[in-house]
């Protein structure tokens, strides 16, 4: 019987995997609690104490608990500690879904990050854009800055592809310091 598993790139050991070239470092950020919030985001803000707008594309989040805007009625809440808010529907008019296991998070550091962004998307990182959800390297991600790093949340099933894309882009001369 054919071994179809060979058709897929082996998933890296995310605890150890790192892309390091001059000016750019990429690694996995594990341990983040992530929740999708849909519905009345103002009501969500009143109940949770977190922002209803959240950061947009390439915006900057500063704290350990923050929100990232995905759509007109949807955001992603991120925290280093579990939220004290129940998942499921809330009578105030919003729903909360735990999605920590569904989204893989990469952190990108270094001055070559801007060059990497320009290769990944035509979206202007200097122009405000309400939603942090965009196509990056050919797949949908949630992209914003956090404490000096660029964070990318991507569906877990696409993480290996995006990792491969990032490795390939990092080898390009302008990014690897050979240009």
């Amino acid at each position: 019987m054919r071994d179809l598993a060979q058709k897929w790139t082996a998933m890296p050991d995310w605890h150890e995997a790192v892309i390091a070239v001059p000016g750019l470092t990429v690694r996995t950020r594990s341990g983040l609690e992530q929740y999708l919030v849909s519905g009345d985001l103002v009501a969500w803000s009143e109940v949770s104490g977190l922002a209803d707008r959240g950061v947009g594309a390439f915006g900057t989040a500063e704290d350990d608990r923050y929100t990232v805007r995905l759509g007109r009625d949807r955001l992603l809440a991120v925290s280093t500690a579990p939220f004290d808010i129940a998942t499921g529907w809330h009578e105030e008019g919003f729903g909360v879904t735990a999605t920590s296991a569904g989204l893989h998070v990469f952190e990108i550091e270094g001055p070559a990050g801007a060059e990497l962004i320009s290769r990944a998307t035509p979206v202007d990182p200097g122009a405000a854009s309400a939603s942090a959800s965009l196509v990056f390297g050919g797949v949908g991600v949630i992209a914003y800055h956090h404490q000096g790093t660029l964070r990318l949340h991507v569906e877990r099933g696409l993480a290996t592809y995006l990792w491969t894309w990032l490795k390939t882009a990092a080898r390009q001369p302008a990014l690897s310091g050979q240009g």
Partner: protein
């Protein structure tokens, strides 16, 4: 690559958008709808040369909106989500 102005996000690359149909093509309602009426809704398109009003969806933020554009020159006139401010070019 052409940039489309999403009414919620602002300028985004065309690859983030999907065409969703002709604006104003309302689904027939009720039990007495004729076969001709259904056929018109399902199959007949005006296919204008020039100014057109179309429904598009921005796949990344899930915003459905009306886009006014020219089918010959691809020039955009405006995008608007019903109930929200218009995003004019």
């Amino acid at each position: 690559m052409q940039l489309f102005p999403c009414p919620f996000c602002g300028p985004r690359p065309e690859t983030e958008f999907h065409y969703n149909g002709e604006a104003g093509n309302i689904r027939p309602d009720g039990a007495q709808v004729s076969a001709e009426c259904w056929a018109g809704y399902l199959y007949e398109r005006s296919n204008p040369k020039g100014a057109a009003r179309e429904i598009w969806v921005h796949a990344t933020c899930q915003e459905f909106f009306v886009m006014e554009r020219d089918t010959v020159t691809h020039q955009l006139a405006a995008t608007q989500t019903p109930g929200f401010a218009e995003h004019a070019e």
